[in-house]
């Protein structure tokens, strides 16, 4: 049970119900797909059936949003059981979730909420990662979330928390480069320093995504192309990690499959040896408000015969 044996899957796309028919019919030349675990775990309708078919033809990674590894509530073993059942069926290359909490006192906010980053939360998270890895019988891969506040109770930067966490538990990292950029802007830290200091050998996968700049803050909207500054950070992360499986997240205003795929393939332009020379200035801000951490998991799109 080690992250060292995990494959480099190449450039992948998020599996979205809007594209189900296209993927089944055209079998596009995509390296791999990432499925949001909760969209399929307790579903026995068409989405799970489609996932099974796609998993026969493409490598799949299961990406969750509800593990709540940082919650002070006990671990939800009903959730883990359902997750493990799906994993047995789909045989994902790995299972990932976020360094966050989603609720406490049995309530679920359906958001990826930030943790105070200190010794107490580090030990709490590490204990729970060990339990989850033992239960799932495979390493857990955790993603840095986009954050919109910092706690007074934090005593270490996030990159340091991640370094200790992976060191102590052997878990892997899903480095979301866009989230680094978003969190850095919102919480006044340097995204370049963050990318330079995370434990690069622990990074199993990267995420890219589009965000919305609202002037005084940035919202991780996943509804547009990747910002220039995020591509530059990706260039740096690619050099530091030596290149790992990379996925473009797109959850709002999802474009046609080919447009989505073309945006992902742009990543190839940032894998060269051209030195990282710094981040470009952000574009002009939009003032409208946006919803953070888009629900990439949703009420299913119904498939229905025409009515009577």
């Amino acid at each position: 049970m080690s992250i060292n044996n995990l494959p480099d899957l190449g450039l992948g796309l998020g599996l979205r119900s809007k594209h189900f028919n296209h993927i089944l019919a055209e079998q596009p030349n995509v390296d791999w797909f990432e499925a949001i675990s909760e969209n399929f775990m307790d579903s026995y309708g068409r989405p799970r059936q489609v996932l099974k078919q796609i998993a026969e033809q493409y490598p799949i990674v299961m990406h969750g949003v509800s593990l709540s590894i940082g919650s002070s509530d006990p671990l939800n073993f009903a959730y883990l059981k359902s997750l493990k059942t799906l994993a047995k069926e789909i045989k994902p290359a790995w299972i990932s979730d976020h360094l966050c909490w989603t609720g406490t006192l049995t309530i679920n906010s359906h958001d990826l909420l930030p943790l105070p980053l200190n010794e107490e939360s580090l030990q709490h998270v590490c204990n729970r990662i060990r339990m989850v890895q033992d239960y799932l019988e495979q390493p857990l891969i955790l993603e840095n979330p986009s954050t919109y506040l910092s706690f007074e109770q934090s005593t270490m930067p996030e990159w340091q928390f991640l370094a200790h966490m992976t060191e102590e538990t052997g878990c892997g990292l899903l480095l979301d480069v866009n989230n680094v950029y978003v969190s850095a802007f919102n919480n006044d830290f340097d995204p370049v320093e963050y990318i330079e200091n995370i434990p690069h050998h622990r990074v199993v996968q990267m995420h890219l995504a589009g965000h919305q700049h609202c002037g005084d803050y940035i919202i991780d909207t996943h509804d547009r192309r990747v910002a220039g500054a995020v591509w530059e950070l990706f260039r740096l992360a690619w050099q530091k990690t030596g290149g790992v499986a990379t996925l473009l997240e797109w959850d709002g205003d999802i474009p046609a499959f080919d447009v989505y795929h073309a945006e992902m393939l742009k990543a190839k332009n940032f894998m060269s040896d051209n030195a990282f020379t710094g981040l470009p200035a952000p574009p002009i801000a939009e003032k409208e408000t946006a919803v953070s951490n888009p629900i990439h998991f949703m009420v299913a799109e119904l498939t229905m015969n025409p009515g009577p």
């Binding site: 909760e38 775990m41 307790d42 579903s43 026995y44 309708g45 068409r46 989405p47 059936q49 509800s66 919650s71 002070s72 939800n76 959730y79 909490w101 989603t102 609720g103 406490t104 006192l105 049995t106 309530i107 679920n108 906010s109 359906h110 958001d111 909420l113 943790l115 105070p116 200190n118 107490e120 939360s121 709490h124 919109y148 506040l149 910092s150 706690f151 007074e152 109770q153 005593t155 919102n186 919480n187 006044d188 005084d216 803050y217 919202i219 408000t289 919803v291 953070s292 951490n293 629900i295 998991f297 949703m298 009420v299 299913a300 119904l302 498939t303 229905m304 015969n305 009515g307 009577p308």
Partner: protein, 287 residues
């Protein structure tokens, strides 16, 4: 450099933050005073840092806005016909209040609206009036139907079967695994599908209606029924054979047996064509 603030245990930090996400409407004043009730007067500025551009209050507000918007959005996707029927503003007011009363306790969003129809029933605007209006009844029926449709779409059931054909002996016919019937006091099926087909339906007048919702090869189909058909199918759903179901229907109906026997061949033909049945191998018990 400012000295670090006193350590506050993780559980308390989380309860504090969650309280402010869930109880937004009730704590406007608490926010202004930076005070959080039930938490020994923790100050917002004890918990959240100001940044170069935003105050602690503004940082927290990003999460508060997103919490509400995200769950509202889920409710409107799960009850899209109801949202159209009520109008966006009224739907939103109901959904917000419902979410305050029943915050999600499941990792699975499909159950977010589970208690919404019952909540609408308990909180109908005319609940204290002696003479009730019609429209809340329609809204409650529509909410039940929309929720049921989503559950039926995802329900666990055998899908790997062939529908029965016309030459299957009648005693071997049984309903397919995903098959549900509904009775309404409004034309709910008509309204739902008119909305789904973007026909902008008007609020309907009361009128009894019945329908069946079935799933085969992961696709849902809806069929209109009359009252007799609804009752007969209900008997089949409770495990009776066609012969038993017809006898039951005969007993509860004023219709005489010959009348039922004369329409039955037509019903059977239409239902076989529609894929209501599969054929049970001879000798297998019905349960």
């Amino acid at each position: 450099m400012t000295p670090p603030k006193a350590h506050i245990p993780l559980a308390r930090v989380q309860q504090w933050m969650q309280y402010l996400l869930l109880r937004q409407g009730n704590t406007l004043q608490d926010h202004q005073q930076h005070l959080v009730p039930d938490d020994n007067g923790l100050l917002l500025t004890d918990m959240v840092k100001d940044s170069k551009r935003l105050s602690a209050r503004e940082h927290l507000a990003i999460y508060q806005r997103s919490y509400t918007a995200r769950l509202r959005d889920c409710m409107s996707k799960q009850f899209s016909a109801l949202e159209y029927a009520l109008g966006e503003d009224l739907f939103r007011a109901f959904a917000d209040e419902y979410l305050q009363c029943h915050p999600s306790t499941s990792y699975n969003l499909i159950t977010l609206g589970e208690k919404f129809p019952a909540w609408l029933e308990a909180n109908r605007p005319d609940k204290d009036e002696v003479v009730k209006e019609d429209w809340p009844d329609f809204m409650i029926e529509l909410a039940r139907f929309e929720y049921a449709i989503h559950i039926i779409f995802e329900e666990e059931a055998e899908e790997d079967f062939l529908p029965a054909t016309g030459d299957a002996p009648e005693e071997t016919l049984q309903l397919i695994p995903v098959f549900h019937v509904f009775a309404f006091s409004f034309p709910v099926r008509w309204y739902y599908q008119a909305f789904t087909n973007k026909l902008a339906p008007e609020l309907p007048a009361p009128q009894e209606s019945y329908c069946a919702v079935m799933r085969h090869q992961y696709k849902l189909s809806i069929y209109d029924l009359n009252r007799g058909q609804y009752l007969l199918l209900q008997h089949l759903l409770s495990g009776h054979t066609i012969r038993q179901a017809k006898a039951q229907l005969h007993n509860q109906n004023t219709a005489d047996r010959s009348q039922l026997e004369s329409v039955w061949p037509l019903w059977k033909k239409k239902w076989l064509e529609a894929g209501f049945f599969r054929s049970r191998p001879a000798g297998t018990p019905i349960h």
